[in-house]
């Protein structure tokens, strides 16, 4: 180490200061450190490769045994029956509908809040609202599930009784249904949507706004006709990130959505791809357990598609700015 430092520390009288004095040790240490940094960087690459490989290895065989068509397009899920059925269509559709519903409810609220923070709120008020958003992002998903279970589920349950009354054809869920799941998911994606949209709204050049206002447009018109179109790639990113968060959420919605395998309907007790894994993983064995990994693989494919879309948006946004 003294050798290494020797070239720099001037007040060491052992040898005269020389830049090339310790080149040899220096360059070997340098090379080793660079290798270490490259290795650290490669950890992420390795992790993604390993996760992909393991999901494929542990997910594909079961699909082969069950049959791809039956697995993807059958709605009968009876994993522990004598003649087990492994059709996950209901779960796939529930995940898609649930995510779409969460986006439908959460994005408008989130986007408008982002507009408020970026454009309308006075600085002090903004500084009071922003911590609430940050803390929403930090709350563990199990707490969303717990509060959803105690507050939202009974509320939706009362609504269900009001709506369906004595309808004999309706299976009452007591509020533990897709509707409650969507509401909880919508709340959970709020921070993502708000943060990313606000950042992109703030990144819109001030000249755009000034020009619009100078032409006589009102502030509200400026926001909706100028700012939002200009920030659209960032807003699209926030929506895609929200989709990713919603489709991957497990612990919060398992507590509020009833967990019976049904086709997605607002008032049905439903099971998502994620909750399908969580609810049976603890006791599944053999082919059943392998099929749960196949469900994980399907979820992984969804996430992969979302990632590709995200990258396409970011790339397009980047080109536009160049």
């Amino acid at each position: 180490m003294t050798n290494l430092d020797g070239g720099i520390v001037l007040n060491q009288d052992k040898k005269s200061f020389s830049i090339i004095g310790s080149t040899k040790t220096k360059s070997s240490v340098e090379r080793v450190m660079m290798m270490i940094f490259v290795a650290c960087g490669l950890t992420a690459v390795l992790a993604v490769v390993a996760i992909t490989a393991y999901m494929l290895i542990s997910g594909v065989p079961a699909v082969g045994k069950v049959g791809l068509f039956h697995f993807l397009f059958d709605t009968s899920w009876h994993p522990t029956a004598k003649n087990p059925q492994f059709g996950i269509l209901s779960m796939i559709l529930t995940s898609i509908v649930g995510t779409f519903g969460a986006i439908l409810v959460g994005v408008p609220i989130g986007l408008l809040t982002a507009i408020f923070l970026a454009e309308i709120a006075p600085k002090k008020l903004g500084n009071a609202v922003r911590p609430a958003v940050e803390l929403l992002a930090g709350i563990p998903s199990v707490i969303y599930g717990l509060v959803g279970m105690i507050v939202i589920v009974p509320f939706i349950g009362r609504m269900e009784i009001q709506l369906f009354g004595t309808d004999p054809a309706h299976t009452f869920t007591g509020g533990a249904n897709l509707f409650s799941g969507i509401l909880v998911l919508a709340i959970m994606i709020l921070p993502t949507v708000i943060n990313v949209s606000e950042t992109s709204l703030r990144a819109v050049p001030n000249e755009y706004k000034e020009a619009s206002l100078a032409l006589g447009a009102t502030p509200v018109t400026t926001i909706f006709k100028i700012m939002i179109p200009a920030a659209r790639s960032g807003i699209a990113t926030s929506i895609v990130l929200g989709i990713g968060r919603a489709i991957g959420e497990a612990m919060a919605i398992i507590m509020v959505s009833g967990n019976a395998v049904n086709l997605p309907n607002l008032w049905n007790s439903v099971r998502f791809l994620t909750t399908g894994i969580v609810s049976e993983m603890s006791y599944a064995s053999g082919l059943h357990r392998q099929v749960l990994f196949s469900i994980g693989l399907i979820l992984f494919i969804f996430i992969f598609i979302i990632n590709i879309v995200l990258n396409a948006i970011l790339k397009k946004g980047g080109e536009k700015n160049d």
């Binding site: 290494l4 070239g7 720099i8 240490v29 450190m33 660079m34 270490i36 940094f37 290795a39 650290c40 960087g41 490669l42 950890t43 992420a44 690459v45 993604v48 390993a50 996760i51 393991y54 999901m55 542990s58 609220i109 809040t113 408020f116 923070l117 309308i120 009071a128 609202v129 911590p131 609430a132 958003v133 803390l135 929403l136 930090g138 709350i139 563990p140 998903s141 199990v142 707490i143 599930g145 509060v147 279970m149 709020l190 708000i194 006589g216 447009a217 009102t218 909706f224 991957g248 497990a250 894994i277 969580v278 993983m281 990994f293 994980g296 979820l299 992984f300 996430i303 995200l310 990258n311």
Partner: protein
């Protein structure tokens, strides 16, 4: 020419009901967001405070005496935090240094950036499955705190890399030029100039990771398991199964139907979240103040 009349009307205070409604909506939605947070937090406190007592925080659950305590979960959570941070921080900082100081624009850099991005998008349940089968079965670690910590290390890696990278970017370029200009080698420059200047950013990265670890449940339930025993030895406990606070909350709420205890744990978790938020604020404020 013909538009002069219209132009005049714009400057006059014309009533625009549609715009007023939009503005209203913006304010209502923002208020709703704040209200959602406030009601969740206050609801958790109101429901949870009564279950909190010294015994609740300082004992293990006992079937014989019929008492409930969350000390094992608190200890397990600390174990997982410490081990995960010990594993992931050096790797994450190394990766950030590579990306910011060494990398040239090429395939390798692109691959690292893309995969880091990908890791942050993978849902925790997938990490749980992967951790259970890779660390738990292939590496034969079973349900253990180590399995959980290794799994979470991959999960929080993107947080460390990205936050550290941001911190490295804020170190002025002139520092590097100055150091290199007087003959410092690259690693020497990084060790003595770049890293010390970005310590607040690295601390922020660690705190954010702790927040994610404390909140995590889906990735831990199939890796670290759900045991609630107190450690018998400092190191042997690493290889034992143990549930963290979040996992324990889920167990009480979903499987044991004991919502009061669940809310008690929720209070502890929310306080941790508040502290973490406050700490990151303090650091960034200090950092901002230092630069100004």
């Amino acid at each position: 020419m013909t538009n002069i009349k219209n132009a005049v009307s714009i400057t006059q205070g014309k009533r625009r009901p549609f715009e007023a409604i939009l503005k209203m909506l913006i304010i209502v939605c923002s208020a709703l967001t704040v209200l959602i947070f406030l009601s969740i937090a206050s609801y958790v406190f109101i429901k949870g405070i009564p279950s909190i007592s010294w015994q609740f925080l300082s004992t293990k659950p006992s079937v014989l005496r019929g008492t409930i305590g969350i000390l094992p979960s608190i200890i397990n959570t600390l174990y997982i935090i410490v081990i995960t941070i010990l594993i992931v921080t050096p790797i994450g900082i190394g990766a950030a240094i590579y990306l910011n100081e060494y990398s040239k624009k090429g395939m390798l850099t692109k691959a690292i950036e893309f995969t880091t991005e990908t890791l942050s998008g993978i849902p925790s349940i997938i990490y749980g499955l992967f951790g259970a089968i890779f660390f738990g079965e292939t590496l034969r670690l079973g349900y253990s705190i180590l399995t959980g910590a290794l799994t979470l290390s991959i999960m929080v890696l993107p947080i460390i890399v990205r936050t550290t990278q941001e911190a490295l970017k804020t170190v002025p370029y002139s520092y590097r030029e100055g150091a290199l200009g007087i003959g410092a080698a690259k690693w020497y420059m990084i060790r003595t100039i770049i890293l010390p200047s970005s310590i607040p950013g690295i601390v922020t990265a660690v705190i954010l990771s702790i927040g994610r670890i404390v909140a995590e449940s889906a990735a831990l339930i199939f890796t670290a398991g759900i045991a609630t025993s107190l450690p018998k030895g400092l190191f042997s406990h690493i290889f034992k199964s143990g549930s963290t606070l979040s996992v324990e909350l889920y167990q009480y709420a979903a499987n044991r139907g004991d919502n009061n205890t669940a809310f008690g744990i929720a209070v502890v978790l929310i306080i941790v979240v508040l502290i973490i938020n406050l700490l990151t604020k303090l650091i960034s404020k200090k950092l901002g103040g230092g630069n100004a």
